[in-house]
């Protein structure tokens, strides 16, 4: 063979030429012509399929194919960097093509074959690229499994095995990538999965058959290469690899319960890992498995689990608690040891009140076991003479909580006899119980329930119990409350998007309605309506996150602005506008401006409709300013024009309409460039302003910043020397801040202010959350014994982007 570098450079043109020729003639190609000439039948059979292809897969396909062709031949070159780059190119192509298209099938297969050839390449970078490419191929293959399911099971197993063999690579990066890819597999047969946990080769006939039935395998790639790949992964020297392996172990649990049981053993052992990141990732994987409902703890795991509950690290304890609340404990003994473990943890860390909630939920999940505990506890209570049993002890409290949870359990078919003494003793723990129930059952009804069951008279229900028989009333009560509890608990859990959206819509309708009825009616009423709406939104926002959360905060900003507008309008109408000095009107105008600016700049991904809304608000703000000064300020007018132009721009393609309000302003501006018309007709213009809130928010995100200064409070101030600069080290987290944003850190001491540019290119994290620390120099320290500095990274004024730093002079 000649110089491959030379060859590869010759390829693209040749391939492109071939592409051109074939697409121009709509013909299979010159070779086919030669072959087909003597016998026309096969070519007839093939031709329609090929001819039908270009329209089906879109016009760009020939180019993609040419790309792929060129990249595949480059991947065979002699230079490792070029090979790796070619493979990365193929991966990029695969990510772009629509996996369901016909072209994707061919391209994916082509890339896959290319990757398989380079799997044992000498160069680490090439192998790394191979893993990524195989991962992309697997994704594309599985995307079309739905219409060709039978043949590809074997192929997916094959890919799994190939990735497994890469997971024993000597290069850390390759191993990590291979484990990540394994975790992303969408389809694997159980035999292969199980084999990946054991180093010893499992011998089953079915497995061999399934592999041999597939394509011809190279001799090395049989099931043994998957053997124990995960047990190797979790023993890896590098914590990054271990972490990825744990993650993938958890991710694959959805395919097989048998696998999950075995994987649990491995994951449990990871709790002794020396890296905290790995332990946390393991707990996350366990949590993942628990939410799938496939986590069943065995006795041998309990020691480890209970160890986690008293771990010195709060994050670990917290994660372990969460998992414990979800797991299924098959034996009473395990249940008891779990309760004991929780009690130990409670004694060691009495500040952690979450434990009561977990106790309640595990009690609820294992009704008959907690009934058993209740029986023993009741005995203990009756046996103890007065004052011996201290209710304040965590142990007794915990046991009471577990006992009281039994009636709320799902074991409806079993008759759970909870002694009444338990209920009466649980009354002091009312708050904890209702908290564990998610705070949805009112404490009053719970109290009445407990009193009933405890056989105590209670004022609200006295009449009821007098009328009905004691037992009957309790029964009714129990069922009702039980059902209520169930429902509300579920509701809080799935306070999902639909509900939020509905309530949001109705709130917006109220806002819109109140705006239209504001004109005739009194303003105060509107104001109170708006305030209530805002309060409702705040409640909704507390329970939601992501885009909806962002939109809710946007809406409350919006309502703020409208409130200001209403108030300003009121002032303008009442007051003599020609007053001097700073008035409440000025303040309100400033507030409105701020509010509009926040809407403009603190959110990423505003869609067109929302942007139009914001711009109209800013139009009205400028209008108010004009009316306030009553003389046309050039600056304000200029801004007004800019806003109108922007509005026109947005509405240019007809996707949304320019409102009457903006159109009139535009007309007024056009007729008199000095803006005299505007001031005159402000009243009329304002009447045209309509609220049209939308609920379509797309991918809205809030830009936010969090500032912290470590080890600093009023007791423990930073030291400085008067007049000399001092460095303050801030811990900064930024949400949804992309690299093109510019942020400054503002440090305020009394009146003086200093701005420092935030260089966050070095911050860790992704686009969503970036965090890092920086030391900002404060140049002008005041000549004082001590002072307080307010630092802020101004994104949203009301959020946690502020911090107060205390300083103490070294001189005194």
């Amino acid at each position: 063979m000649g110089d491959p570098h030379l060859l590869s450079s010759a390829h693209p043109t040749a391939a492109a030429a071939a592409a051109a020729s074939s697409s121009a003639r709509e013909h299979p190609g010159p070779i086919d012509e030669d072959l087909a000439a003597p016998d026309p039948s096969p070519s007839v059979a093939k031709r329609p399929r090929v001819a039908a292809e270009p329209p089906a897969s879109g016009g760009c396909v020939p180019y993609v194919e040419a790309d792929v062709r060129a990249l595949v031949s480059m991947a065979g070159g002699i230079y490792p960097l070029a090979r790796a780059e070619a493979l990365r190119g193929l991966t990029a192509v695969l990510e772009k093509v629509d996996p369901s298209s016909r072209a994707s099938v061919v391209i994916t297969e082509c890339s896959y074959q290319c990757a398989v050839v380079l799997m044992r390449d000498d160069d680490n970078g090439v192998r790394l690229a191979v893993v990524r490419l195989v991962d992309a191929c697997a994704r594309n293959f599985s995307a079309r499994l739905d219409f060709d399911a039978d043949g590809y099971g074997d192929l997916m197993d094959m890919i799994f095995l190939q990735l497994s063999s890469m997971a024993r690579d000597m290069c850390t990066q390759v191993r990590m990538e291979a484990f990540a890819a394994l975790g992303k597999m969408q389809r694997v047969s159980e035999g292969v999965l199980l084999q990946s946990l054991y180093k010893k080769v499992i011998k089953t006939d079915s497995m061999d058959v399934s592999i041999i039935n597939g394509q011809k395998l190279p001799p090395k790639l049989k099931i043994p290469c998957a053997a124990g790949i995960f047990s190797h992964g979790i023993e890896d020297e590098f914590y990054q690899v271990r972490r990825t392996a744990c993650k993938s172990l958890g991710a694959l649990a959805k395919f097989s319960t048998q696998y999950t049981e075995k994987a649990l053993d491995l994951l449990m052992d990871m709790m002794n890992d020396d890296s905290e990141a790995v332990r946390l990732q393991t707990l996350e994987a366990l949590f993942h498995m628990a939410t799938y409902g496939c986590l069943s703890v065995q006795e041998k795991h309990m020691h480890m689990f209970l160890g986690l509950l008293v771990d010195a690290n709060a994050l670990i304890r917290d994660a372990a608690l969460k998992i414990l609340g979800l797991v299924n404990m098959p034996k009473l003994q395990i249940f008891k040891s779990a309760v004991d473990g929780l009690i130990t943890s409670l004694e060691k860390y009495p500040e952690e009140q979450d434990i009561y909630g977990i106790l309640f939920s595990i009690g609820k999940n294992h009704g008959s076991f907690s009934a058993n505990i209740a029986k023993h506890l009741a005995k203990e209570i009756t046996m103890a003479s007065d004052g011996e049993l201290i209710l304040d002890k965590p142990r007794v409290k915990a046991l009471l909580i577990v006992s009281i949870s039994a009636p709320f359990s799902d074991d409806k078919h079993k008759k759970l006899n909870i002694p009444s003494i338990i209920f009466s003793h649980a009354i002091p723990l009312l708050e904890k119980v209702s908290c564990a129930l998610g705070g949805e059952v009112s404490q009053d009804s719970l109290l009445s329930y407990l009193c009933h069951k405890g056989g105590m008279p209670f004022w609200e229900n006295r009449s009821v119990s007098a009328e009905f028989g004691e037992s009957e009333s309790c029964n009714v009560e129990k069922v009702e409350i039980g059902a209520h509890v169930e429902n509300t608990a579920k509701e809080t859990k799935c306070l999902d998007e639909v509900l939020v959206m509905q309530s949001m819509k109705s709130i917006l309708e109220i806002v819109e309605g109140s705006w239209t009825m504001r004109m005739p009616c009194n303003v105060c009423e509107v104001r109170s309506i708006l305030r209530t709406c805002k309060e409702e939104l705040r409640l909704l926002a507390e329970n939601s996150s992501g885009s909806i959360g962002a939109f809710l905060s946007f809406l409350s900003e919006y309502l703020d602005a409208i409130l200001f507008i209403v108030e300003i309008w009121q002032l303008i109408q009442l007051d003599n506008p020609y007053t001097f000095g700073l008035t409440s009107l000025d303040i309100l105008l400033e507030k409105l401006d701020m509010s509009v600016r926040r809407m403009e700049y603190c959110y990423v991904g505003l869609n067109r409709v929302l942007e139009v809304q914001v711009l109209e608000l800013s139009l009205i703000a400028h209008l108010f300013r004009l009316s306030k000064i009553a003389v046309c300020s050039k600056v304000v007018l200029g801004k007004l024009l800019w806003v109108i132009n922007r509005l026109e721009d947005l509405c240019a393609d007809g996707s949304c309409e320019l409102s009457d309000f903006s159109r009139e302003i535009k007309k007024a501006c056009d007729t008199s460039p000095t803006g005299d018309n505007l001031i005159g007709s402000i009243n009329n213009l304002f009447q045209l302003f309509r609220l049209k809130p939308t609920t379509d928010f797309g991918m809205l995100k809030v830009i936010n910043a969090g500032l912290r200064v470590c080890d600093n409070n009023s007791e423990n101030p930073l030291q400085y020397i008067c007049g000399l600069p001092v460095g303050v080290s801030f811990k900064i987290s930024l949400w949804n801040v992309s690299s093109h944003h510019r942020l400054w850190l503002r440090m305020t001491i009394g009146e003086s202010m200093q701005h420092t540019f935030l260089e966050f290119s070095g911050f860790g994290g992704n686009d969503e959350v970036k965090s890092g620390s920086m030391v900002a120099p404060l140049y002008a320290t005041p000549k004082a014994c001590s002072f307080v500095l307010r630092g802020s990274a101004p994104t949203r004024e009301d959020m946690e982007d502020r911090v107060i730093v205390w300083f103490n002079s070294l001189m005194n």
């Binding site: 010759a10 391939a15 071939a18 297969e109 024993r168 000597m170 180093k199 020297e237």
Partner: protein
Amino acid sequence: MAIECLVLGAGQEVGKSCVVVTIGGKRVMFDCGMHMGYHDHRHYPDFARALTAWGAPDFTTAISCVVITHFHLDHIGALPYFTEVCGYHGPIYMTYPTKALAPFMLEDYRKVTMDQRGEEEQYSYEDILRCMKKVIPMDLKQTVQVDKDLVIRAYYAGHVIGAAMIYAKVGDAAMVYTGDYNMTPDRHLGAAQIDLLKLDLLITESTYAKTIRDSKHAREREFLKAVHKCVSGGGKVLIPTFALGRAQELCMLLDDYWERMDLKVPIYFSAGLTIQANVYYKMLIGWTSQKIKDSHAVHNPFDFKHVWHFERSFINNPGPCVLFATPGMISGGFSLEAFKKWAPSEKNLITLPGYCVSGTIGHKLMCGKPTRIDYKDTHIDVRCQIHQLAFSPHTDSKGIMDLTEFLSPKHVILVHGEKPQMAFLKERIESELGMPCYFPGNNESVSIPTTQNLKMSATERFITSCAVEQGKRSLHKRNLICRTGLSEVIGSDEEAVEGVLLMEKHKSPKILCEDELLEVLGMERHLVQFEPMVSRIVAAVESELQRAKAADLDSDGK
């Protein structure tokens, strides 16, 4: 050319590792160990016999260099004997930590054999020092040019601190000698790590040729559970260990666990080599696992937080504690003293290392739980709990297979293992990986053919014609993609290009196009035509033919 591999020790046995490989005319000795089990002539490899076989006047001329993989006595024990008694004066290579720790190991052993067994002195302390002076230390992945042709390089092997796998290359022939290695990392050492090399021969250890070990984590968990249970019950834990390696590993495990569980029970190190070893470990951070290297900047992981200062009298103190004591097999020393004190209480716990020599107390405890042990006229009642540790710094069968598969050498030789297990592994390697595999006994040698690469140049026209050929084929391939997919495309890459290989004396070989040949040789083109002839006209043309032949011969002569 061939690689000749002579196994002087550790052939079908464990102990006195010593392999001499002749590669490209260079003789390299890998390891020079002693056998701890024998005290007669089998104690050392049979150097003299090898020398007569080579027919060389002395070792220095016979052997190009000696490379030692790590400081265990079965890999380095015979080195002072070889250099000072046998008189080898050539270069000796070992890694920095091995060079630092080897004198201690050698001297320790020399003292023990002298004092306890009263054997005659094979070499003195001065011999050890003189020998170590000749050693040239090397670093990981450092390519050492031993002489003009021979190149060696060390790769990380895990096993113990400073252990290395050695890559040796002469010309095109290359091989790797693994020494002992570990494919799974432990708390303080990383896993073996090597580049993807093109090898003719891999000589690998095969201590666990048949065993497949399950996850190490389970063993760690059991150990921690046992220790935690014992100390929370107020008991004392005695951990007899060897000074280097295992003690550090277990201590890191415990220290970490203590930290997480916030335990206040003291951990002690009995005085002796262990503490000194910790000092060495602190200096050799670069040779430990990734985690230690990472955390080293913040905190030296060998500064154990929960390890307290220890004095001998503490042995009588009440309350729970954990004690690391040497020697590992409770064959005497401080671990025996502590054992005598603590064994009678059932609250206490003794953990035993994975392997104990028969005759030691450790061995007795391992073979079933005795209630009473007689030791040199004292009787010890054993009521304490016993926990066996099964940590091993050797790779298991899976690890050997993984490494072999990764390196994909042309031939494999197994050493350092038991014969039946080696036979089993040989079968696996030959059947699963398809590589010829050998496991020669001591003093046997294996000869392995090597590939020889011939460098040749190609003319410009030949390359151009190749490219054109390739271009045409890619046209062809593109159409295949459209229609049928891949299998044919891959197949077509194998297509050959035609050319003429020209090999002349005193010139490097060359590949040419067919039509270039005459040009290069400076000859004219001759055409020979054949015509079918009927016998009738043979006579008629015969004379003409002869004349033509004569003319041909003439032109050849020119």
